[in-house]
Subunit: 125 residues, 2 copies
DNA sequence: ATTACTGTATTAAATAGCTAATACAGTAAT
DNA sequence: ATTACTGTATTAGCTATTTAATACAGTAAT
């Protein structure tokens, strides 16, 4: 994994795992890689991985069978809610950020449309 | 100031100052509050404020007259570019984040439209 | 019971971010 | 030159994050 600066690694690992679930790479009931495997995959320490799992565990997204491993919850409703929460969180941050720069709601929508359109054509990034 | 967790304070102060400029509260050529005033305003340490100013200084957004203070550049082109850069950065992060959760471009636009519409009605935040 | 997996806990050390106190240096007015 | 502002630098100490090494504990197969 390549980590972003200025954001704790354990939060980035947590996000990565949410993504795996949201994308269906990890399905309800699936066993997660072991903490030691995850540590290798994510190029992080076991303790850091453990910390990333802690909050997911508290939220009920994953559950643990001691001696066996960690598993994705089978509560599909909770998974759907979680995805919705993550989407809304990002929306809120995005909108707040652009409003803080003085953009109106209409301008925000226009900026997004612009960005999505011009993305395919421009390669200068 | 109330700071978000998990993001260095000096980056948040930097963002706050960019906002002041983008919103026109600080105009080209204007003098910034002194580092000691800023430290009080932002409830941070002088050193942390100094660090926030460092990158703005490197980017040419502000300039320093030693013994007098810090000032917003008069280079309006640079200011416009900077605002555009900030907007694009936020767009990129937002789009990447939602794509990582499996949303298509169309779904991203729809989610934003939805969010902006329902914002006025819902007060449960 | 031994082996080989699981998760969990503890301790120590390195680093980054932040604060606090203090000192130094340039500007400008008196 | 003294006073009162500016920015800048240094030192020390605290906390959070991360790593590393090691140990302990549950599960399951041999």
């Amino acid at each position: 994994m390549k980590f972003q600066d200025n954001i704790p690694i354990y939060l980035q690992i947590e996000d990565n795992l949410y993504q795996e679930i949201a994308l269906g790479h990890l399905k309800p009931g699936d066993q997660l890689p072991s903490v030691r495997q995850l540590a290798v995959q994510q190029t992080a320490n076991v303790n850091t991985v453990q910390r990333a799992l802690r909050q997911m565990h508290e939220r009920g997204i994953i559950f643990t069978r001691r001696g066996q491993g960690n598993f994705v919850t089978t509560d599909q409703k909770l998974l759907a809610q979680t995805k919705q929460r993550l989407v809304t969180e990002q929306l809120a941050k995005f909108v707040a950020g652009l409003r803080d720069l003085g953009l109106s709601d209409a301008e925000i929508e226009a900026a997004l449309a612009d960005y999505l359109q011009n993305k395919e054509e421009e390669q200068d990034d």
